[in-house]
């Protein structure tokens, strides 16, 4: 009888599977991803390596010595203990973060814009007491520009009514407003001393959201040639809420990480972060195989550093607010070993 391996599901639940079941899940995960994203399946050697990682009852695993990568963060700390500057210091000093990110608790560019003077003050002080590269991050969050939070008609209300033209016009208007806000915040934070700006969950509201991010990045790059610019995506492909938006002649709806990366690099990013969603009904082995299959073409063709998103519910990490370390470390190691990433 085959030994049972303790492993996890995508929702974090601990289960027991045999090595044969785990291998079957790895193969199913890569096949599902290859079909969906039209990329190549993982090779047999890669699946063998993943089997070794997942078919073990060890509580922890890690990359080989010498293969370590850079870890970046979309916001450091949860602002529950001490000050925000303390959070940055904890991350630098206790969690050994390679880079740090200050953020406003309402983590979007629109609300952050309203309190820039205070954000600048905190950033400036933080720069005095930290050593690791310190930046500022927020989300484009296009939805905030719609009624009732913003001035633009709400396209998610217009779409079900079949008012497509109005919905598109609203999204196009929101793109310009969001890009302006992002550039404004970047300018202000550069004054305060940041080393990079981070546009997190780009594409969360679909192709218009991604376009706002790309337009903002292009303008920021032109104004600040030396600034680090990081983009982290919201999901594995860009939803076509508008459907016809383009950047540099490329339609944004339906783009997978490879093409997302190309456009982000063109716009001027220094770090690109794909996000591949975790399926809570499948094992973490299935999810990691799927993640790597989707991300691999992007990593192979990358012209900028790629930092795979490895937080809760993405990158093969369970969708649970307390992801078990035994699952996270496997996702971490698998990503680095197979994708030869620049970071997470």
């Amino acid at each position: 009888m085959e030994a049972k391996i303790r492993t996890r599901m995508g929702d974090g639940a601990l289960v027991e599977m045999t090595p044969a079941q785990i291998r079957a899940d790895l193969e199913a995960g890569t096949l599902a991803a290859a079909k969906r994203s039209k990329s190549a399946e993982l090779t047999s050697a890669e699946l063998d390596h993943l089997s070794e990682i997942f078919c073990s009852n060890s509580r922890f695993t890690g990359v080989d010595i010498g293969d370590e990568v850079v870890l970046s963060y979309d916001g450091c700390g949860s602002q529950d203990l001490g000050t925000r500057i303390n959070d940055l210091q904890y991350y630098e000093q206790y969690l050994c973060a390679d880079s740090l990110e200050l953020y406003h608790h309402d983590y979007s560019y629109k609300p952050a814009k309203a309190v820039m003077a205070f954000e600048q003050d905190v950033m400036r002080q933080a720069q005095f007491v930290t050593t690791a590269p310190l930046g500022y991050g927020a989300m484009p969050d296009l939805g905030l520009y719609t009624v009732p939070d913003g001035p633009v008609p709400n396209w998610s209300q217009l779409l079900p009514l079949g008012r497509i033209a109005e919905s598109r016009a609203a999204q196009e208007e929101a793109v310009e407003l969001a890009a302006d806000d992002i550039v404004y915040v970047a300018d202000e934070m550069v004054e305060a001393g940041i080393e990079f700006i981070d546009l997190d969950t780009a594409g969360a509201a679909g192709d218009a959201d991604f376009l706002a991010a790309l337009k903002a990045i292009e303008r920021i790059r032109a104004r600040h040639p030396d600034l680090g610019i990081q983009i982290g995506m919201a999901g594995e492909f860009v939803l076509g809420m508008h459907g016809e938006l383009e950047y540099d002649g490329v339609r944004l709806a339906g783009l997978w990480p490879l093409d997302q990366m190309k456009l982000a690099a063109k716009a001027g990013v220094t770090i690109y972060g794909p996000a591949i969603n975790t399926n809570t009904g499948k094992s973490i082995a299935w999810n990691v195989a799927r993640t790597l299959t989707i991300a691999k073409p992007c990593c192979e063709a990358a012209t900028v550093p790629v930092h795979l998103n490895g937080g809760m519910g993405v990158g093969g990490v369970p969708m649970h607010v307390l992801p078990a370390g035994d699952a996270t470390c496997r996702a971490s190691r698998a990503a680095v070993d197979i994708l030869r990433l620049d970071g997470l």
């Binding site: 929702d11 602002q79 529950d80 649970h320 307390l322």
Partner: protein
């Protein structure tokens, strides 16, 4: 249970698992323990709004519940009771 009752690990885990109504394996599983701690008011990581809500016990509040659930005296809880009990309700 180790620090205050001198229990060896196996005994301590068995005791706590019994009191919480879970298996010994579950005690190290954050996926299970999140729900158990919430239900029994034993406190957790803050991560405001995501893990600990405003009406979830934390800190000394959680320790009151821990003392009750594990059926052990907790020093700071006993001292709190003693100090907070000095006023009669009519005087508050």
């Amino acid at each position: 249970m180790q620090i205050t009752r001198g229990m060896r690990l196996t005994e301590a885990k068995t005791y706590v698992a019994g009191k919480l109504g879970v298996s010994v394996l579950d005690l190290s599983d954050p996926t299970v323990m999140l729900d158990v701690r919430k239900e029994l008011g034993l406190g957790g990581i803050l991560e405001s709004g995501e893990i600990t809500d405003i009406d979830d016990p934390m800190g000394i509040e959680a320790k009151f519940n821990i003392a009750a659930v594990l059926d052990v005296p907790v020093n700071c809880v006993e001292r709190f009771r003693a100090k907070a009990g000095r006023r009669r309700p009519a005087q508050i």
